[in-house]
Structures are given as structure tokens and as C-alpha cells.
């Protein structure tokens, strides 16, 4: 109806118009006279439209004098020109001087950066792609103040991201990601090259619009859209090599022998001969130079009614372990359709990511560190080297003569063997997308409806050649013996020739959001209101696990169907319990003359997770105020202060990602402690008991106060911001480990602690141009965060973690300490003589050469009560520097990142059983007798965790050095060609004695390891740091 009316009107105007129509032409340039290709020119209120060609030229047909055409181009201020009598127009566009004109995404809307009352940092696509990575957050280390990112060099790894400190010990530590309006937990399926911008909602008032899921920050990811104009085809490709950086120099065979003999002297006196056959460098044997390559094609463009963006991206990374590979293909298609005179916009985003992972056990790094250099990879007879020596002859061999005995050098296996036989793949298909309809009801009122969804199919397969591994593990074994054992133990799965395991799962989630934006100005009063609701269902899906035995050796027959059938297959299948969310939200943004700002946000969330609770609805309010000082008269005319704004905010957020918690009432049909016998015949009576109680868990609540200052000084050359915050997680959920004298016998979850994060963030950037040809920028940011567990419920203290897999732990929870703080003995020297040991408090079994520990409570005994808290693995501060320079066709960038104030645990050095290899400097510095050293232990030492192995985690790393050259114009056909070389992580400055002080705890087989009570900050099975040296080319057609 409406449509017809409009077209009728248009027709009427056309017919009845009697002004003289004409054609005008023109050229659009920037202030320097450089033509701007792709600029949009549109006659206001008419369907006349053009895009400038390569030389900035445009043509408009059918205009009449008095018409106004509007010229827009990204990064420039739009300009309107009235058609007069002339036929040719030169339009000069002014660049947007202030980055505050930039638009940031605030959740269900956008806002000019200048108008923010909260702390939001935006990162552009250029910054994300400057460092090649599989996940965008990896590339953003040190780029955003207040955001601490810990990465691992393992292919396909997921970085730890914490915004304004850590307040959550268990689930939901990572921020929430909103990708084109779809809330997700990670962005590993998104190619960094497809990202247009990332907005970090850091303070509670910005994040409050996402309520119960925003406690640990929100990152909004916007993928690229086509821009109106001629189609553009981009090809970007790079290839790089990845060697290990900062490899630890291990002791060689003669050093090892001496160390081994010294270690054994006080034990059994077994010694090794000084001459041995092998000197294996295990790191050389297991590592290779990795590689990475990435190729992206994208096509984008747009007309008046349709904008399109399509890309194909292939990313492949080969790790430093042989055959360890991560591959990902991503297809992205983002289209915008504009209908009904731009009244209705349909925006469609689709992302398809296919990944394939060849996994190798990270434990190989650990074993390579420990395995003796006297063990060969292979013996001359082709058998795998084993950690054996002949006790009688002192030779490192598995061969024993008459009456001779063989013993182990170490308790560790052959890491090459472990890698050779590891056969583990995981694949996934990830489909994610959204459709958004934006309907402009009036100029002021827009209604938006969005449906977003994500489906993930994943499948893992692992093959264990049981028989071959058994045979390979010990050179004295024979296959006949295996077959004999198999015959003797027909039911025993340990003697099946091989086993094959499949895990597959499907998960689905969707969200449907509807909201209204009202935006209007009444004189100096500007009002922007958003009101909406959302429903979301996550975690829909199922999991299948199968294991079968004895499939044929050839890979093509690896399926359950081809199993021998001699052993029972294992099948497990179940559906996940989905979680549903229902939410209402509203936000009012008001400003008076862009001088005084007020923002109020309210979100009400219901989550099915809490359906058993009395209150499964939560309300999350936030307030923000702002004052632009430069709008006041006393600063309005300042030459040096271009922009100055004060911000303050308060808000409450939630974390609904709580652990599954249910009362476990245990029963047992066999003879167990809950059953009893009664009656004259002593009949078994089945009873029950409660294992772990389900405490009423609710969301974790975070409340935050934040103050900020944005500044632009000295003709917009010096820009930046300063923020301070105080953030309290009021009811952190703990995994409560029961005390010996408590009621329940197993771990359970309950709210038990309050965690406070206090911090400062500073960002500063200097931008200038010298002459015509040289421009540069120097930026830096610094974040300081102090984390403290300020309150723990009675009887709930003492959660332990950081297990070294040798019965020793390194972390413990206590009030007044940071979350995940270190807890261990304080070493205060080395025992020099037995007399010293006898006359002082010492650990049972101490001998000269062992570390001595401080008797903190002076009770004359060294035990757990002498362990003290010794800081945290979480950096107290981190900082980044970024330098860019452009000279004529050359561009150069340099990024650095550093952290400090934390401690990391060198568990490789510590966690020993006996006979392990050591780094060369550990050998050279060791205690060898009274008076030699009072710092480093001798070859024979205990296995306790102590401050000796706790080292400063401070480091500074050059993340990126890139030099690029943009070729002079080649032809009309090729718009732009840039070639570049780049070094990623070429330099690391640290005092740490291990491989890498940056220890996220990432382990693909153990997702819990990344938590504060996992292996974060502990170097045990950690992937070493790699550098990347790469060259690449970007072509724009």
C-alpha cells in the first residue's frame, strides 16, 4: 500500500516537474588533491546515485539546479553540495581529524566514541591483522589497556583473556564474545582477516547491557561488510617459518653422567661409566621448524541496494612437533540488502569454518627435558631407545650379561616413541550466522529484529596401537610374549592389539533479539533510547563416544565395523541439557549539548540454570555520567587541549556460567559403605548417603566503580585515556574441598569468596607527520591490576591446585591472597653439612646438598605449616608499545608487549623422581660440597615445591617487526600491491630459566588446566615459545 503510494508520488513529481534536467560531473579529492576512488555521491531525496571511479570522477544524470548531492567516504567528513548552474564540481573532503568521531559498537547499537560514558576500547582490522594468528585475540596482546591476554604458541590454541582482572575461579572466566550479534564463548572459528573491528566493553556500565553473562567483560566482534562502490578483490597471502625461541640448553652426556653419579652416591652408589655410546639432544629429536601460511581471497562491493562481502580464508599451521597441524578453512558471506528507500535493511552474516587438527601430546616436551641424553632414539637393532642402564657395568644399555642387573636411568619414556605412536585427530565444522532486519519506522525510530545461530559438529578420533606400543616401549620385549599374554588374558583390554576411539558431538545455539532504538534531539537535548528483549538457548546437542578394539592396521579400515569383535565395544551417548536465557534490556543515553552525559542501563535476565532456585531472575543495573570539559567556555578556545572528557560509571554484572551442581545421593548395589545387613538372616539392606550436596548456586555478581579521562591534545597529535576501577566479585564460586572433620566427603561447589580487582589503565598515542612523505605514530599502554581474595567463608579455605603430578601442589586459596596464589616452602639456602641438618629444623630425609627451608613457625619441624604464600602467576602489570612509520611507499611497524610483578613456577626443573636430565646451567651451578654454593641444590635433591623454583615472570617481548612496501601503480587493473616481511616474537627479554614465562596453561586435552588452580603459570607440559619469520603479499584488484 505504502509502496504504491510512494511510487505514485514519484511518478507525479517526474511528470509534473518542469525544471530543466541536466547532467553534472565532478571529481572528489582529499585536501591534498589526491582523488578518492569509491566515494559515494547521492542526490538527496532522489534515486540518483554514483560512485567515483579510480580517478575520483563521478557523473550524475537528471539533476536540476537546487538539488543537493551528498558525498560520503569512509574516514572523511561528509559534504553536501547544491547544484547550481555549473556542470562540473570539484569537491574536497576533509579527513576526520578526531578518532573520537569513530563509531564504536555498544551492544544493540552504536555510538560515537566521543559520546561514551563507559570504558570501551576499539581495535581496528589493521591492528588485528598486523600479527598473523589463528584467533584474533592472540594478535592483540599489549594493544588494549586493561585487557590481559596470555597466549600459547601451540597451533590452534585458545588464549586466556581477562578483562580488568580475574574474579572467577571456575567456569566463565573468559569474556563473552558477541559476533555480529550472536553471543558465543569463543571466536576460534572467525578468521582474523574478516574482522572489521573489535570493541572491548571493559567497565560494568558498558557491559551491563549483557547482564548475567558479562561479569568477565564483553568483546563485540564485527565482521567486514561490503562498501558501496566498485567491486574490489583482495588477495592476501603469507608464509612463515616458526623456530623455537629461547630453547633451554640441556646438559650433555658427560655432564649428565657426572650429575647422575653424584645424585646416586648417597642413595645406592650406582654409577655410570664416563664413556657412553650416545649423546642425544632430545629437543632436537622431537622438534622441527614449524610453519604457518594463510591465504585470503575476498570480494566486496556494493550498489545502492546491496552491499556484499565474500571471503575464503585458508589457514594452516604446523607445530614444532612432527605432524602436529592445525588447518582451518573459512568461508564468510556478509550481505546487506536495502529495501523500500532504505527504510528496511536486511543484514545477513554467514560464517562457515572447517577445522582439522592433528594433535600430539605436549607431554613430549616434558619428557624430552627429563630423558637422559645417554638414551638413543633407536638402538642399532632398530628398537626404540629405553631409559635403561646396566647397574653392574655402568653402561647405558638394556643388555645384561650373566648375573648383571638392569635398572632405569629415569622413569620417563622415549618422547620420540610417544610422538610416533600418537594418532589423534579432531575435526570440526562450525556454522555461525545471523539475519538482522532493521526497519526505520520514522527517522527517529528504528526497530531491529535479529536471529543468530551457531552449530558445531565436532569429531575426534584416536588410534592406539597397543601391541606395537607395548613392544616398542621395552627393547627386551617380543611380540610373541604379547600374544602369549593376550591368550592368557582373553578379557583384558590391555592386550587387545589396538584400540580406536571416536568422540563426536553436535551443539547448537540460537538467539532471537528484538529491540527499538529511538534517537532524537530537542534543541540541545539529545536522547537515545534502546529498549528490547532477547531469548536464547545454548548447549543444545549431544555427544557420542565409541571405542572399539582390534581394527585392521590400515587407516582406511579404522571404523567400528571392521573390529575383530573379540572385545566388547564401548558406547556412550547422551544429550546435553540446554540452558535457556530470557532477557529484557533498556538503555537511555542523554546528553546536553554534547557536554553533559548520562547513561542508564538495566538488564533483567532469567536463566534456566537457576530454575531450582527461588529467584532465577536477576536484575543488572548500571549508570554512567560524562562531562566534556572542552565544551566548557574555559577550555573551548584552548589551542593545546582539543578534547577532554571525564567519565564515571557504576554497574553490576553477572556470571551464569556456573558448574553443574546437583545433590549426589549415592547408592550402590554391592557391598558398599551405605549398605548394611539386618535381621536374623542378615539380609542386605540398601541404604544411601549424600556424596556432595547441591548448594543453592546463583550467578556470581560483579560490581564495579570506574572513573576515566579521555584526552586529545596538541592539535590531535597526542591522544589517549586514563581509567581507574574497583571491581568486586561478591560471591565467587569455589570448588570446596572438604576438610577432614567436615560433614561431606566429596568436593562440592558453593559461593565462598569475595575477590577484589583494583587497577589503572593508561593509553597514550602520538601521531604526527613530518613533511609530505613521512608520518609516524608511537603508542603505548599500561595496565596495573591488583587481585585479592578479600573474604572466604569459614571452613571453605584451602582449595589447592597447581599439581606437579608428583604428589606436590603449588597453589592454595586463602583470604588476603590473590586468586591462584603460590603456596610452598621458602628455600633459604643449601644444607652444607650433616651437622647443620642435625642442629636445625629440617625436612625428613634431608642430606647435604638439599635445599633448606625456612621454619616459618619456629616449631623445629619442617612441614606444610611452614609453607607460605608467595605471590601470584597473574601479572601485576602489563604494557604494550606500538610504533608505526610510513615513508613514501614504505611502511614499518613494531610492537612490543611485557608483563611484570608475577611469579611463574619452573616445574620442569623441580618435578623430579630421580635420574632426570637437567639444564646445563643447573649442572654448572650445582652444590658439590660444603662451601660451593648456598643457592643451588646438589645433584641429589628432594622433590618439594619451593621458592627456589619460583621465578620472576617478568618479560618483555618484541611481538612484531614488519616492513612493507607498496608498489607504485602498476596498471589500472591492479589497484594496490603491498609486499612485506615480518618477524613475530623475534626477541624475548626475561630472567626466567625455563622456556617461556608466559604460561596460559593451555592443554587441548585438559580444559581445566587454564584455570587459576590448574597449570596456569606452571611450566610442566607447556608448549615452548616460537618465533615466526614470514613474508607476505596483499593485492587489491
Amino acid at each position: 500500500m505504502k509502496l504504491k503510494f510512494l511510487s505514485f508520488l514519484a511518478l507525479l513529481i517526474t511528470i509534473t516537474g518542469f525544471a530543466q534536467e541536466k547532467t553534472v560531473t565532478g571529481v572528489i579529492t582529499d585536501a591534498g588533491g589526491v582523488p578518492l576512488p569509491g566515494a559515494q555521491v547521492k542526490v538527496i531525496d532522489k534515486e540518483i546515485f554514483n560512485v567515483t571511479d579510480f580517478d575520483g570522477n563521478f557523473t550524475l544524470d537528471g539533476v536540476v539546479p537546487g538539488d543537493v548531492f551528498r558525498v560520503t567516504f569512509l574516514g572523511f567528513q561528509p559534504k553536501e553540495v547544491t547544484v547550481g548552474s555549473e556542470g562540473e564540481y570539484s569537491v574536497v573532503l576533509q579527513e576526520d581529524a578526531s578518532e573520537l568521531e569513530e563509531v564504536v559498537v555498544v551492544g544493540y547499537g552504536t555510538q560515537r566514541k566521543q559520546d561514551l560514558t563507559g570504558a570501551i576500547s576499539q581495535v581496528s582490522s589493521e591492528e588485528i591483522t598486523r600479527q598473523p594468528s589463528s584467533t584474533a585475540t592472540q594478535a592483540l596482546q599489549g594493544k588494549v589497556a586493561g585487557v590481559n591476554i596470555t597466549t600459547s604458541s601451540a597451533p590452534g590454541s585458545e588464549p586466556n583473556v581477562s578483562i580488568r582482572g580475574l574474579g572467577t575461579a571456575l567456569g566463565g572466566r573468559n569474556p563473552l564474545y558477541i559476533v555480529d550479534g550472536v553471543p558465543v564463548n569463543d571466536i576460534q572459528n572467525i578468521s582474523p582477516s574478516n574482522i572489521e573491528s573489535m570493541d572491548f566493553l571493559k567497565d560494568a556500565s558498558s557491559a551491563a547491557i549483557y547482564g548475567v553473562r558479562a561479569a568477565n567483560g564483553v568483546i563485540i566482534v564485527t565482521t567486514k561488510q561490503g562498501k558501496s562502490g566498485v567491486p574490489s578483490l583482495n588477495i592476501r597471502s603469507f608464509y612463515g617459518v616458526k623456530p623455537v625461541l629461547n630453547q633451554v640448553e640441556m646438559a650433555n652426556s658427560s655432564q649428565y653422567i657426572q650429575y647422575f653419579n653424584e645424585e646416586n652416591a648417597p642413595l645406592n652408589g650406582n654409577t655410570l661409566n664416563l664413556q657412553q655410546d650416545y649423546d642425544t639432544n632430545w629437543y632436537d629429536e622431537i622438534t622441527q621448524i614449524g610453519s604457518v601460511n594463510n591465504t585470503v581471497f575476498d570480494i566486496s562491493g556494493g550498489s545502492e541496494n546491496v552491499n556484499y562481502f565474500f571471503s575464503y580464508d585458508y589457514y594452516e599451521e604446523e607445530g614444532v612437533l612432527q605432524d602436529q597441524k592445525f588447518r582451518r578453512s573459512t568461508i564468510t558471506s556478509n550481505n546487506t540488502f536495502k529495501l523500500f528507500d532504505d527504510r528496511l535493511k536486511i543484514i545477513q552474516n554467514l560464517n562457515l569454518a572447517v577445522t582439522k587438527n592433528n594433535n600430539k601430546p605436549f607431554g613430549a616436551f616434558n619428557t624430552a627435558y627429563r630423558q637422559s641424553p645417554l638414551v638413543p632414539v633407536f638402538y642399532p637393532n632398530g628398537r626404540y631407545g629405553a631409559s635403561r642402564y646396566n647397574q653392574t657395568t655402568g653402561e647405558a644399555t638394556y643388555v645384561a650379561g650373566e648375573g648383571e642387573t638392569i635398572d632405569n636411568l629415569t622413569q620417563h619414556g622415549n618422547p620420540v616413541l610417544a610422538l610416533d605412536f600418537a594418532n589423534n585427530q579432531s575435526n570440526s565444522v562450525n556454522i555461525q550466522g545471523s539475519v538482522t532486519a532493521e526497519l526505520s519506522l520514522t527517522d527517529e525510530l528504528t526497530f531491529t529484529s535479529r536471529f543468530g545461530a551457531r552449530k558445531i559438529f565436532s569429531r575426534g578420533r584416536s588410534f592406539n596401537a597397543t601391541r606395537d606400543v607395548w613392544f616398542a616401549q621395552d627393547p627386551t620385549r617380543t611380540l610373541e610374549r604379547f600374544d602369549q599374554l593376550k591368550a592368557e588374558n582373553p578379557e583384558n583390554l590391555a592386550y587387545a592389539n589396538n584400540s580406536l576411539t571416536f568422540n563426536s558431538s553436535e551443539t547448537y545455539k540460537y538467539n532471537w533479539d528484538n529491540f527499538i532504538n529511538y534517537n532524537n534531539s530537542f534543541g540541545n537535548h539529545n536522547l537515545d533510547v534502546t529498549l528490547g528483549g532477547s531469548r536464547e538457548q545454548i548447549g543444545i546437542g549431544f555427544e557420542d563416544n565409541y571405542r572399539t578394539y582390534e581394527v585392521p592396521e590400515q587407516e582406511q579400515y579404522w571404523s567400528v565395523k571392521h573390529a575383530s569383535g573379540d572385545y566388547d565395544n564401548f558406547v556412550e551417548q547422551y544429550h546435553y541439557t540446554p540452558t535457556n536465557f530470557m532477557s529484557y534490556f533498556g538503555r537511555v543515553q542523554y546528553n546536553f549539548n554534547r557536554k553533559y552525559y548520562f547513561t542508564g542501563t538495566l538488564r533483567r535476565d532469567g536463566s534456566s540454570t537457576f530454575q531450582n532456585n527461588a529467584d532465577y531472575w536477576g536484575t543488572f543495573p548500571a549508570l554512567g555520567v560524562g562531562w566534556t570539559l572542552t565544551e566548557e567556555e574555559f577550555l573551548a578556545d584552548s589551542e593545546s587541549i582539543n578534547f577532554l572528557k571525564l567519565r564515571g560509571s557504576w554497574g553490576e554484572l553477572g556470571n551464569a556460567n556456573i558448574p553443574y551442581n546437583t545433590s549426589q545421593i549415592l547408592t550402590d548395589p554391592t557391598s558398599s559403605s551405605q549398605n548394611y545387613v539386618l535381621g536374623p538372616d542378615q539380609n542386605l539392606v540398601f541404604g544411601s548417603f549424600i556424596g556432595s550436596p547441591a548448594q543453592n548456586l546463583s550467578w556470581e555478581v560483579v560490581s564495579e566503580y570506574s572513573l576515566g579521562l579521555d584526552y586529545e591534545l596538541l592539535d590531535y597529535k597526542l591522544t589517549g585515556s586514563v581509567d581507574v576501577y574497583h571491581r568486586t566479585t561478591e560471591n565467587t564460586i569455589l570448588q570446596v574441598q572438604p576438610l577432614l572433620n567436615s560433614t561431606f566427603s566429596t568436593d562440592f561447589y558453593d559461593h565462598g569468596a569475595e575477590v577484589v580487582n583494583k587497577g589503572i589503565e593508561v593509553a597514550v598515542n602520538w601521531n604526527d607527520r613530518i613533511g609530505e612523505d613521512f608520518s609516524y605514530s608511537v603508542g603505548g599502554n599500561f595496565s596495573y591490576n591488583d587481585n585479592e581474595v578479600t573474604q572466604v567463608r569459614t571452613n571453605y579455605e584451602g582449595q589447592i591446585g597447581g599439581s606437579l603430578n608428583n604428589g606436590r601442589i603449588t597453589k592454595r586459596l586463602e583470604e588476603g591472597q590473590p586468586l591462584g596464589s603460590w603456596w610452598m616452602f621458602e628455600s633459604n639456602g643449601v644444607w652444607q653439612t650433616q651437622a647443620e641438618i642435625n642442629n636445625n629444623a629440617s625436612l625428613a630425609g634431608a642430606i647435604p646438598g638439599h635445599l633448606r627451608y625456612e621454619d616459618q613457625n619456629n616449631d623445629g619441624v619442617i612441614d606444610d605449616r611452614d609453607k607460605t604464600y608467595q605471590g601470584s602467576y597473574i601479572p601485576l602489570f602489563n604494557y604494550g608499545i606500538n610504533i608505526t612509520m610510513d615513508y613514501k611507499q614504505f611502511d614499518f611497524s613494531l610492537d612490543g608487549f611485557g608483563v611484570g610483578g608475577n611469579k611463574v613456577y619452573n616445574a620442569l626443573l623441580n618435578a623430579r623422581i630421580g635420574g632426570e636430565n637437567i639444564p646445563e646451567d643447573m649442572f654448572l651451578n650445582r652444590w658439590t660440597g660444603p662451601g660451593t654454593t648456598n643457592t643451588h641444590p646438589g645433584a641429589n635433591r628432594d622433590i618439594e615445591a619451593s621458592s627456589y623454583y619460583l621465578e620472576d615472570g617478568d618479560f618483555f617481548r618484541i611481538n612484531n617487526i614488519t616492513l612493507g612496501y607498496t608498489l607504485p601503480e602498476i596498471s589500472d587493473f591492479v589497484k594496490n600491491v603491498r609486499v612485506y616481511v615480518s618477524a613475530q616474537n623475534p626477541l624475548l627479554f626475561t630472567k626466567y630459566r625455563g622456556f617461556n614465562p608466559e604460561l596460559s596453561g593451555y592443554d587441548p586435552t585438559n580444559p581445566d588446566a587454564q584455570g587459576p588452580y590448574g597449570l596456569s603459570g606452571v611450566e610442566l607440559n607447556a608448549y615452548p615459545l616460537t618465533s615466526t619469520y614470514l613474508m607476505g603479499v596483499n593485492i587489491q584488484l
Binding site: T667, S672, L740
Partner: protein, 487 residues
Amino acid sequence: MKIKYYYRLAILGIISIVAIGCSEDFLDVDSRENITAEDRDENFTPEDFVTGVYGMFTEWPYAFSYLALTEIVSDNADKGANAGSTGTDKHFFDELNYTSTAPSLEAMWEHWYKTIGRANYAIAFAQQEGGPNTERLIAEAKFLRAYTYFFLVRSFGDVTIQGEVEFIDGEEVVDPEVDLSERNSQEEVYAYIEQDLMDAISVLPVKSEYAANNLGRATRGAARAMLAKVQLYQENWTAALENANAVINSGEYGLEPNYEDIWREYSENGVESIFEIQARGEAIAHGVQQYSQTQAPRSDGIINGWGFNVPSENLVEAFDEEGDEIRKNATIIFRGETLWDGLEVSTAAANPMYNEKAYSSSNLAASDGDKNIRVLRYAEILLIKAEAEAQLGNLQAGMDALNEVRDRVDLEPVSGLGQQELIEKIWNERRLELAFEHDRWFDLIRTGQAPEAMAEAGKEFEERHWLFPIPNNQLIQTPGMEQNPGW
């Protein structure tokens, strides 16, 4: 007209937003991954949880660690087994040089507290659910809780009284006021125990009132007998006597005519039995896990038990001194002996003597024995009566009660003893009558005989041995808790 049109659209839009939230049913998601309690077809009753408390007494700590704390440490028993088999720390108890890190101590400490935890939960659950026999079940749980606190207070002195459980909004909540790092005084703990026992006495039926299928549950007689013993430990002679008399006069109990029959299967829950831990040795055997196995003759080729907790020479001498052949032979298996069931214990067995009261004829050294463990029996009540009477100066009445016990095992009646003589006679009688019934160490401590008895057994009893040390790991978990003196 145009405006109106948009308004209508806007209203439509707003309605659609609100429509999202129309049904809160959306938030009621059915569990798929785990079957919820209500769908599990398992209706838990208060009885189930009380059974779960009883079950704790059949657990492994009672088969091994318990031996160390009650017998091996005393003059009755030696560690046994062979020199290399220490049972982790049993040799330390035998030599009286255990420390706070001894695993046996920690095992019992934890097990006792978890038993109390189960009792607390069972009581709260029964109070919440109601149903048949609720009061009786609560009383049974209180009896078991009192019995367990009695172990704790005898072993460690001042101990934490665990917070009781309460159901709030259907969820179990442990009393948040209780700080588990604080220890309650012995007086408080004893008062708590007595209150539990008194509650139990007022509710529990007497032994004969129970239906047959409830045989083995705590009875009023058991609660009274336990109370008498608890009062004996507090030297509250009048009350102890009163309760012992109440048990004796209840007509529910008497002496098994033949002493050695007390440990036969047919006399389980018999006339002398006041309370015992129930055990069955058949398929899905459910006895005290490995209780018989840990104490059965070691490497004799037939039984192949572990051979721990063996009678000491000192005990044999005590029997011989008294001329007590009946109880000696009923208590001790001698290597090479042919047992009552015809089984010959090989002369090749590792130790000269074994604990016969733990011996299970039908199960030999099977892991779950069928041996009911006698906790309280009539003879002990007579001895409690005897001691209380003697302490109160009623010497004849004391001697009468004592003689009743002696008469069964053909010992001469005592007569004309002075008060102190009589008391010491009763103490010795307790030793012989109750040997290997897990009473000796506590009795030595209670009566103050420990330093002398240990010296005679060739062990050095120090001041700190009056109490066991609080397990080290407990102190690590709750650094605010104080250790016992001297540890």
C-alpha cells in the same frame, strides 16, 4: 495518516518484543544429561540414610587403622605380620612412637567425622521428610553419632562438634556458625554425647520389641549401656550404676553360658549381645571390610591372612597369672593349634599367636567376613556395675557383679577385697574379659594404668600419650586448630 501507520507498526514491534517473554516456561528446561532425583524412580527414605550411617561401621578403617588405635598400641597386642610389613604405620603404634602424620590416625579421625556427617544429614533428612518410624530412626542415628563422638573424645580429648544439618528451601545447609578449626571442650562433647543417648533412650524400643527383620538396630538397652560406659569415663559412678542396673534389670540380656560361644556365628545378636556391628559373608558379602582378613593367620598355607594385631606375651602372662585358660584359649589362636571348627593352623604361620575373636570360620581370610563385631555385651555391663559399686564403696555388690563374670569362666570368686584391690581386680578382669574387643587402650588411659602397663610391656609412655595427636593434615587445613600438648 502516515504517522498513524508507523505508530501501528511500532506498537506491533513492541508487542513482538514483549511476546518473547510471554511464557516463562521457556526457562524451565528439562534435564537430559542426568536423570533428576524425582525421575530416578528412587524415593529416598529416612531409613536409607540411617542405613548409610550404620554402613560406615563396616568400612575399611575399622578393619585396619582401628586396630592400631585400640589394640596394637596397647599392652594386649603386637603389630604382628612380619618385620617388613609395617601396615604403613602400625609398627609406630606398637612401639609407641607414632606422630601426628600417622595415616591410621588420620583415617580414623576422618572416618569418624564423616560418620557424624552422615548421621547429621540423616537426622535432618528424617526431620524434613517425616514418615513411618521417623522418631526411631532419628534416635538410632543419634545413638551412632554419640558412639562416634565417644571415640573422638576418648582419642583426642577436646574435639570439634560438627555443625548440624538443616534443610532450608529443600537444600541441605550445614550450620554456618560452626567453625571447624575450633575445638569444643571434653565436657561439651560429653554433654553432647549424653544428650544424644538420652534422646535415644527415650525413643528407642527395647531389643525384644523390634520386629525380627530389624534385628541389629540400636536398642534402648544399647543406648543405656553406652550411656553407662560414657558415665564411667566421666567417673560419674552413680549415674553409671543406675544405667548399668537398668540394663541388667531390663530382662533383655544375660550371659552366654559358654564364653567362647560369644564369637560363634550362632550367638550373633544372642542373649549377651547389647550392640554389635552386623556382618554377613555370603554373595554380595557385607561384613566389616577385611576385618577378619587383616587379623587372620599369615602365610600358613591355608588361611593366608595378613596376621596383624596379634596377642602379646604380656597378655598371655596376664591370662596365666589369673589361671584363666578358658578365656585365653577363646581369645588366642596358637600356631599349630586345631581350632574349634577343625581347622588346623599350620606351624609354618608367621606369628606364634593370632586374634581368635576376629577369626571367621566360614570365610577364613575372605575380604568381607561374616564376623559381627561385638561392641557392647552384658558381661561388660556387669563389670561397669562392679566398678561403679566399688567406687561408691559398695564392695560386696561390686564383688557379686564381678563374680558373676568370673563364674562363667570357672574362676574362683573373689571375696574380702579392699576397695582399691577390688577396683584393680575389676580392671584386670576387664582386660581379660574384653581382650581384643577394642577397649584396652582407652581403658588404660581412663584408669590411669597406662604408664605402668606400658612400662611393663617395655614401652615408654610419655605425658603426651594421654591423647592422640590431632592429625597433621587437619591442622594444615585449619591452621587455627590447636594441637594436643606435647605433639
